[in-house]
């Protein structure tokens, strides 16, 4: 097979938009690539296909690449990424009955942003006292931002995600059905599945992932590390096609067109009305009510979104350690370096004249407002990166020192 003919795996989610746009708008062809997009309904199947060379690249959960680099799962040290597909885009939705209970117990918490699950904690405790089954909450994959976001949110209110509730993995396409059948009480999933649950009158969204961690990493374009080494030119062309497609998708005026592309039967195969909230940021729900406008609900390019920030990889690894999936003596630097390769991205950005960070990691959680990243080939406008509990994540000692200059912002936060 010619290295310029590629197969790329994707999942039925709003955040495959830049891949679909690259295909539909001919960005792959412009870079001399012939790309076939192949849809998967299981992360495990997509991972196996990538591992075994059935596909060359994949729209993959960022933590799956980190897990591989950390030696977790069936394919240790096999994957890497040089491209982050998007930031944000998930949400936590609960059943109508659970929402009603929350409203009965603490209606005031629904007015607060971000919504802290203190009422949920009361419900969890009451169920234990009365000997009821613990609440069951779904997320989409064992190593997923959805899982870590859900855990972060629960833990922020003092709920132990491993002992106080039951977490179960349900693939995105099946969460709405599971909620309808009463098998789960809520879930953390990407779009359009929260919107689908709301539209079906089955549940309410309590919080969006951007309110748990602003501009958090989500999907990445994963490849086999050996493939990248052996086909560097092809990989570079792929990154360039993805960069120009991501620029296009990120423009607010193109979002509705992207939603129309995604609605096609061979892509997400859902009505435009279900896809447009997540892509346009309009009519998104949080706190159980419609919020008219959340322009940062899903980010595809701005805020240096496509750069594979090693601080993102390290935070993900820190969650794996926090929840006992990885050992605490894991070599964080080595895992982050293997999982997130920054050099090829820099080359692609330079060839396209796109501003690119000159640092590999940043202090996470230090910015409550828009800020300017000076450590870049030209300054880049960045979005907030707050955690809901105001904590700051320093990826390393050097990272701490580097951002001391910004400590003013950092201390102002909390």
């Amino acid at each position: 097979m010619s290295p310029n003919t590629l197969k790329i795996g994707f999942a039925r989610l709003s955040d495959c938009a830049s891949l679909v746009a690259a295909k539909e708008r001919g960005e792959f062809e412009k870079q001399g690539l012939t790309v076939e997009l192949k849809r998967y309904s299981s992360w495990a199947a997509m991972r196996d296909a990538l591992a075994n060379g059935v596909i060359d690249a994949a729209h993959m959960l960022a933590p799956m690449v980190v897990a591989s680099a950390a030696g977790l799962g069936p394919y240790p040290n096999l994957f890497t990424t040089s491209f982050a597909i998007n930031l944000n885009g998930n949400a936590i939705t609960v059943s109508n009955s659970l929402f009603q209970q929350i409203r009965d117990i603490a209606p005031e918490t629904l007015q607060q942003r971000p919504h802290l699950p203190t009422a949920l904690r009361t419900i969890v405790a009451k169920r234990r006292e009365t000997g009821e089954e613990p609440l069951t909450l779904g997320h989409v994959y064992h190593y997923s931002m959805h899982g870590y976001e859900l855990r972060y949110w629960l833990a922020a209110a003092g709920i132990d995600p491993d002992n106080d509730v039951k977490l179960v993995v349900i693939p995105p396409e099946r969460v709405v059905d599971s909620l309808a059948r009463g098998q789960i009480d809520g879930f953390c999933v990407g779009e359009p599945w929260n919107t689908a649950a709301i539209e079906a009158g089955l549940g309410r969204t309590l919080i969006t992932s951007a309110e748990i961690w602003s501009n958090a990493p989500e999907k990445v374009l994963a490849v086999r590390t050996t493939w990248s080494t052996q086909n560097e030119d092809t990989h570079l062309s792929l990154l360039k096609a993805m960069l120009t497609a991501s620029q296009w998708v990120d423009q607010p005026e193109n979002r509705l067109i992207a939603a129309q592309m995604l609605s096609l039967p061979n892509y997400v195969d859902m009505p435009v009305s279900m896809l447009s909230p997540s892509l346009t940021g309009r009519d998104v729900q949080t706190g159980g009510v419609l919020v008219q406008n959340m322009p940062d609900f899903g980010i595809f390019h701005r805020y240096a979104a496509n750069f594979p920030w090693r601080s993102h990889a390290k935070w993900i690894l820190a969650q794996m350690v926090r929840w006992g999936e990885a050992l605490d003596d894991v070599d964080i630097e080595s895992v982050a370096t293997h999982a997130y390769s920054t050099e090829l991205y820099r080359k692609a950005a330079a060839e396209l004249g796109i501003a690119c960070p000159t640092i590999d990691e940043k202090l996470e959680g230090a910015h409550s407002h828009a800020w300017l990243l000076d450590a870049a080939t030209s300054p880049i406008a960045m979005g907030p990166d707050l955690f809901m509990d105001g904590k700051i994540y320093a990826p390393s000692e050097s990272g701490k020192a580097e951002t001391d200059a910004e400590s003013e912002t950092a201390t102002n936060v909390k």
Binding site: S41, I170, D177
Partner: protein, 235 residues
């Protein structure tokens, strides 16, 4: 609701041989499994497949040497509850099944399972992996179980998946042949009517075209139909 699980030969097996090995949360075996094939109890196998006929086929292949359960149309929490209840040593499922994502979460759900479940590929060589992948089989085994014990189960599953594939492609071929015959008949009829050919002449004309162009007869018949329909204004 009828119970979706079909226990076969269930009964006496309350423990499995691999219960003797203790595993840590990271899946590392502290004590190797004692090599005592003589007293080895049959493996507990769970087949998760939304194609009941294929599940049956695999089950039949394994029934003599294993305790086999099957699950169909069972997802998410219900599926995981079933797994905790059955505590299988081996889970066999379709590579493309979305339920795999749920099953993979068992890796760390140690409070429900005595031992984490790992993917078969972690225990095996490249060749064995490839054979399973090509057949569309994915398998999960209880951590610590020796490949030697699991191997025969996987081999049966691979073989039965292939048989099923064969049956399905045969069925598809039969259907395709039938469809092709219909198209050819119709083209023949059109030729007979518009060119005053006999049935034999019409068929021979198409066969000659098929041979000259190196295209299947069905394709030739299709073009005959579209051309004659276009010229004649109607079929």
């Amino acid at each position: 609701m009828p119970s979706p699980l079909t226990p076969k030969n269930s009964g006496s097996n309350l423990t499995t041989p691999s219960d003797q090995s203790v595993t840590t949360q990271s899946g590392e075996a502290r004590k190797p499994e004692p090599q005592a094939p003589a007293k080895a109890l049959p493996l507990r196998v769970l087949i998760i497949d939304d194609l009941p006929e294929r599940a049956k086929l695999v089950e039949q292949g394994l029934a003599e040497n294993a305790v086999v359960h099957t699950a169909s149309q069972l997802h998410g929490k219900q599926l995981l509850d079933l797994v905790s209840e059955i505590r299988p040593d081996v889970i066999i499922m379709d590579c493309e099944s979305p339920d795999r994502d749920s099953i993979e979460s068992l890796r760390s759900v140690v409070q429900n399972m005595s031992k984490p479940i790992v993917m078969f590929v972690e225990e095996e060589n490249d060749q064995a992996q490839r054979a399973a992948i090509e057949a569309g089989v994915s398998a999960y085994v209880v951590d610590g179980l020796t490949p030697r014990r699991v191997r025969p189960v996987i081999d049966v599953a691979i073989a039965r998946f292939k048989v099923m594939d064969g049956l399905r492609s045969e069925l598809k071929k039969t259907k395709d042949d039938l469809a092709a015959r219909k198209v050819i008949e119709r083209a023949k009829g059109l030729l007979m009517k518009s060119r005053n050919m006999s049935e034999e002449e019409a068929f021979a004309a198409m066969r000659t075209m098929s041979q000259e162009r190196g295209r299947p007869l069905k394709e030739i018949a299709e073009s005959v139909i579209s051309v004659l329909t276009l010229l004649g204004g109607q079929a």
